[in-house]
């Protein structure tokens, strides 16, 4: 069996993947050539990363607007600390809620500690959907706000792999 990639190749592979997967019939072969390795070594490394849960997502970043998901709403709630896990888990299971996180309050500027993202095609339907789910889960009395996005300025994956000198690569 072939040895795995050396650390330099691993880092180089990470950096190439930040730009996305090459759009060719054999993407892993293409990546292997770029980092002077073999296709099976690249595949093995990627399978390992995948099994270790290193990939947050395997596929696409969609432009929701271009696809008609124009109503991107952020629902924020001020949930008592004692209830946050229960409420978070319940809302996290609601169909239509794509992300659900606890974040810190920043008093006095910001009181909300639970964040949910909801994407929909029409704003009034998203509003109605959120009203209904707050009522269903008896959460309407909690202080909450709905922040609709009206414009997207930037959407990309970010740049994270440190360069070989240890300084973050500028994109």
């Amino acid at each position: 069996m072939k040895p795995g990639l050396n650390p330099k190749q691993v880092l180089a592979l990470r950096r190439h993947l930040e730009a996305g997967l090459p759009l060719v019939s054999r993407p892993y072969q293409d990546l292997a050539e770029r980092i002077k390795a073999d296709e099976p070594q690249v595949l093995e490394q990627m399978r390992q990363w995948n099994e270790q849960g290193m990939f947050r997502r395997m596929g696409l970043v969609l432009n929701h607007r271009a696809l008609g998901f124009a109503a991107n709403a952020m629902l924020v709630l001020d949930v008592p600390d004692a209830l946050i896990d229960e409420v978070g888990q319940r809302l996290g299971r609601v169909p239509g809620i794509t992300l659900c996180y606890q974040r810190p309050r920043r008093l006095p500027d910001w009181r909300y500690n639970l964040f949910c993202m909801i994407h929909g095609r029409q704003r009034d339907r998203v509003e109605a959907q959120i009203q209904a789910l707050l009522e269903e889960h008896l959460l309407s009395d909690l202080p909450h706000q709905l922040l609709f996005s009206t414009q997207m300025f930037k959407q990309c994956g970010g740049r994270f792999a440190p360069s070989s000198t240890g300084v973050p690569r500028r994109g």
């Binding site: 019939s25 271009a66 997207m152």
Partner: protein, 147 residues
């Protein structure tokens, strides 16, 4: 966008197989050919329907850091500040939202220290104090959008 585009997008949201000829596998599933699917994907990226294709690392697991941050930008300065943030590689998303805190963006850096420094730089650059709202608990992540 036709039916094949839609089926391709839906399928790709579930990931691409980690095999030597991933497009052959997909072509078989979708009743198409590798080259047709690649052409479609090229076109979808070109048209801006998709903004990226390929696996994305979970930054926290790699020792990197993310945060969600917000600025309350005076209306007359909105475009200018959006432009300043656009030039920063650490800014991964930036949305305008209807609220006094009207600019919401995600920062991604190799380290937590990098996040702190970037927020300080934004404050110096814009004269506005950002809200720093790093995630403390994840209850759900499921970005799947049937189209």
């Amino acid at each position: 966008m036709d039916d094949l585009d839609r089926r391709l997008i839906n399928r790709l949201q579930l990931g691409l197989p980690l095999v030597r000829h991933p497009w052959r596998v997909l072509a078989e599933e979708l009743g198409s050919s590798s080259s047709e699917l690649l052409d479609r994907l090229h076109a979808l990226l070109e048209d801006g329907v998709l903004t990226r294709f390929g696996p994305m690392f979970d930054i926290e697991r790699l020792g990197g850091a993310f945060t969600l941050a917000a600025l309350a930008v005076p209306e007359e300065r909105f475009e200018e500040v959006a432009e300043q943030l656009h030039g920063m590689p650490e800014v991964a998303h930036n949305y305008r939202r209807e609220h006094a805190w009207n600019m919401w963006f995600v920062l991604g850096c190799p380290t937590v220290q990098g996040i702190t420094e970037t927020l300080q730089r934004i404050e110096r650059l814009t004269g506005l104090v950002p809200l720093n709202l790093p995630k403390e608990e994840t209850y759900h992540v499921g970005l799947y959008f049937p189209v």
